[in-house]
Symmetry: C2
Subunit: 112 residues, 2 copies
DNA sequence: ACAACAATTGTAGTTTAGTTACAATTAGTG
DNA sequence: CACTAATTGTAACTAAACTACAATTGTTGT
């Protein structure tokens, strides 16, 4: 039996380069999070979220981290936080994860 | 400094329950993999791929593992394999990863 | 060369998903 | 109740995806 280090096991199982490219539509995000599409657009208009919308009229796409963020904001709202406060808190809370992703999502040759 | 085990670090960084729900449209898959949408549908018609298409006329969605599979098949095709041979080889090659995902993608309470 | 099969590609016409840009409504606070 | 925060509704439009035909291109054996 071979024992792998944490980061070895991680990279063996999850292709972060691919993961970072897995962007889903707003309807899918709504299904996953339970937050209505209308509300997701509203949050985005307020500057709380960023989607990968490249041009006017183009469809919004959300990556793993954005969806995670929406889930966390929703939790805090249910807890009684205001939207701005929730957004701020989540921003801080996700800082570590964001950084880890940046490092891991660098393009690499596929290893299966 | 706190040291985490492999699976602890993994679960801290990646929410597999969420990851398993991140399903992308066929256009996105085409962008990611470089395989034309027409070809993806063809592979699916042949039974080599499975999308989460729930009804006739509904749009196909692909999860992480499906996209990974497409990437691997494409590689083998470029290498000279026939489609069927490539599909078979990839099936075997992904068995471990598939199993690991099944275990990890069980719904859990969100931990940030 | 050519038959036979594997693999891919083209596209017209239709459906589904997502967009904007208005405005209206609901909830909380001094 | 005035004021702001937060959400919601929807009409008219655009983008993305679907099916179901058929045609084309590549490979292999005789």
């Amino acid at each position: 039996m071979i024992t792998l280090s944490a980061s070895e096991e991680l990279q063996y199982l999850v292709d972060f380069d691919l993961l970072s490219k897995l962007v889903v539509g707003i309807g899918e995000v709504s299904d996953i999070t339970g937050v209505p599409t209308r509300q997701i657009r509203y949050w985005e208009d307020k500057g709380i979220l960023q989607s990968t919308k490249e041009a006017e009229g183009a469809t919004r796409k959300y990556d793993y981290l954005s969806v995670k963020k929406i889930l966390l904001i929703k939790e805090l709202l249910d807890d009684g936080y205001t939207l701005d406060a929730a957004a701020k808190k989540v921003e801080a809370r996700m800082k570590n994860v964001n950084e880890a992703f940046m490092k891991l999502a660098k393009p690499t040759k596929d290893e299966g």
